[in-house]
């Protein structure tokens, strides 16, 4: 039963006094002012909606703030120029002036980056590499670079694994250089694209030639823009079955590659005699060759092939060929052939080239790493790709218990063939790097970095780290950042 004092205060609030008997009114101290907003509400009844308000009397000034059709000026607000809003949305911010500079932060160094000694530490990305990474569009606007003073990444277990791959390639014997091929898979926000970026960073530091096909969150060229029919295409003369090349896309890719790899390309002279539609000056460097393709889109594809040929001459640097958003190239593209049939993505020359490298048909004479990152948020469904990755993950866990393809799903045989090595327990070249959750030590390391940057105002101790680690779904790094830096309660 509720206490009587409560009942009394309710009865005071009641507006209808007539319900109370005279006796009760006297008993319940009617003179106390009861809390009510009714008086104010009923004192000045506002005019009902829909009732026409009388026009102001003559000579009376009224305030009219509405801008109607009669207004001579109309809306004078400045409209954004075409593309301005998109540019704003897709802008890559790599610096937060309000964050604290972490003085103890070391850069990744050329000498030590492949040693694997930095496991579990947060390392900064050197200034010149940041420019190169920006040029190949390795940063994404959805990643949290703009929260910190300067770009830095955690050297997690998978990063060390990646460094090991690069080291393996560099240490393999001259003449039998290794080509290592990996697919990055894992949960959403798990750090696949960041791991790819770390791979690119290491390759830049070790003076490799880096060619990157970004996912295309920012601007084209991008993996999704290769296939979504937004750039020019034309059949490649003399190809059987017909292949299609994309001159604008390839030219753009060459321009980006040149910008990112300028010092390396400048130091190498053209030694083969490429047959190009445009004349190349005598004793040209690779830089001049690539420039030729970047400026003249019609020559871009032959120039790309010539560049590849040049880089295959022995003694040249190793290559890192990377792509983000693998599922975009594992389906029919949106382009149409002359017979109005969809063109499979693997019939586009650039993708054909990448797939040949990934499937192992083409190997790199000077060694190299082929990386393909999958995406979980921007991915067209490709059941063949999903199945291949699942089988590869299963092979790593338990090789005796293989998965079978769901017979009720449509199979893309070309994708199945391209990813054959993923499902083959014997094949060693192509494998999956599963980007899982962080360990608690790694989580602690990155959270200490958050705290030192002034973005996390809490005492980072075991209990706190465990809590955030659990909240982030067993250390999913994107969720960890969300839970500790982005979320403000």
């Amino acid at each position: 039963m509720p206490p009587s004092i409560c009942l009394r205060s309710f009865s005071q609030l009641s507006l209808d006094r007539s319900v109370h008997s005279l006796a009760s009114r006297s008993r319940l101290s009617p003179h106390a002012a009861c809390f009510s907003t009714s008086a104010a509400r009923f004192a000045n009844p506002s005019p009902k909606k829909g009732r026409v308000v009388a026009p102001p009397k003559r000579g009376q000034k009224t305030l009219n703030v509405k801008r109607g059709r009669k207004d001579p000026q109309g809306d004078v607000g400045k409209r954004p120029a075409p593309g301005e809003r998109k540019a704003q949305r897709k802008r890559i911010v790599l610096r937060n002036d309000n964050a604290l500079e972490v003085t103890a932060l070391h850069d990744m160094a050329k000498a030590t980056i492949l040693s694997g000694l930095d496991e579990g530490r947060v390392l900064g990305i050197p200034e010149n590499v940041v420019d190169a990474l920006r040029a190949v569009e390795a940063f994404k606007p959805t990643q949290g670079w703009g929260l910190f003073w300067r770009p830095a990444t955690l050297m997690r277990k998978e990063t060390i694994q990646m460094a090991g791959l690069l080291k393996e390639v560099e240490e393999s014997e001259e003449g039998q250089k290794k080509t290592i091929r990996r697919v990055l898979s894992g949960e959403r926000l798990g750090g696949k694209s960041t791991l790819l970026l770390q791979g690119l960073t290491m390759a830049f530091l070790r003076n490799w030639v880096v060619i990157n096909l970004p996912e295309g969150i920012t601007d084209y060229p991008a993996a999704q823009d290769i296939t979504n029919a937004h750039t020019e295409y034309a059949p490649l003369p003399g190809s059987q079955p017909t292949q299609y090349f994309q001159e604008t896309y390839t030219a753009n890719l060459l321009a980006q590659t040149l910008k990112a790899n300028e010092p390396v390309l400048e130091s190498i002279n053209v030694t083969t005699n490429p047959s190009l539609p445009l004349p190349l000056p005598a004793n040209a460097t690779l830089k001049q060759l690539v420039e030729l393709g970047a400026v003249n889109p019609e020559a871009s594809w032959p120039v790309f092939l010539a560049l590849w040929e040049e880089l295959s001459v022995s003694g040249r640097p190793s290559i890192l060929f990377a792509l983000d958003g693998l599922s975009h190239i594992m389906k029919d593209s949106d382009y149409l052939s002359a017979e109005v049939k969809p063109i499979h993505a693997h019939d586009l020359t650039l993708i054909r080239h990448f797939i040949d490298c990934l499937s192992g048909q083409k190997s790199l004479p000077n060694g190299g790493v082929i990386l393909a990152a999958t995406s979980r948020s921007n991915c067209p469904s490709s059941s063949a790709l999903e199945h291949s990755i699942q089988v590869a993950e299963q092979l790593q866990r338990d090789p005796n218990n293989l998965l079978h393809y769901n017979p009720y799903k449509k199979v893309d045989q070309r994708v199945m063939d391209a990813l054959k090595d993923l499902r083959d327990p014997e094949a060693k070249g192509l494998d999956v790097i599963k980007v899982g959750g962080l360990s608690k030590d790694e989580a602690r390391s990155i959270m200490e970095y958050y705290a030192e940057s002034g973005m996390l105002r809490a005492k980072v101790d075991d209990g706190f780290v465990s809590e955030k680690w659990s909240l982030a779904g067993m250390g999913n790094i994107g969720e960890l950042e969300r839970a500790s830096v982005r979320q403000r309660i």
Binding site: A229, H230, L336, V340
Partner: protein, 125 residues
């Protein structure tokens, strides 16, 4: 400004859209034409090469579009009418031709069913 089939289009017009302004070219036909000349669906008129524009114009001039097509449609209707068929009469009266009810909802028939059937396009008869 780019001239296709004798008409000029601003450079930022989509090729698909500019083709579909002609009487007799709809989504399917424009898709077929563009696939034939390897023009991507989102191409703008300004990005076309000169040779492609010439090819397009040549292709369009071989097709039965605009007034040729209108004339054919009108001839077909006139033939029906001259024979005195029911369909011809219904066309002449501006009423539904294929047995629809006429108690309500014949606005489309009133708008379209006439002897001088023309439709929209770049050229008027």
């Amino acid at each position: 400004m780019v001239f296709i089939f004798g008409f000029n289009f601003t450079e930022q017009t989509l090729v698909k859209r500019s083709l579909e302004t002609f009487y007799g070219i709809g989504p399917k036909v424009s898709q077929r034409i563009m696939a034939r000349f390897h023009i991507q669906p989102w191409a703008k008129v300004g990005s076309l090469k000169n040779s492609t524009v010439m090819d397009l114009t040549a292709e369009l001039s071989e097709m039965k579009i605009e007034n040729d097509l209108r004339r054919e449609v009108q001839d077909n209707i006139r033939r029906l009418k001259d024979m005195g068929t029911y369909r011809g009469r219904r066309h002449a009266m501006g009423l539904p031709v294929r047995g629809q009810r006429t108690r309500t909802q014949i606005a489309t028939a009133r708008r379209l069913n006439k002897i001088e059937r023309g439709g929209s396009g770049r050229v008027q008869m």
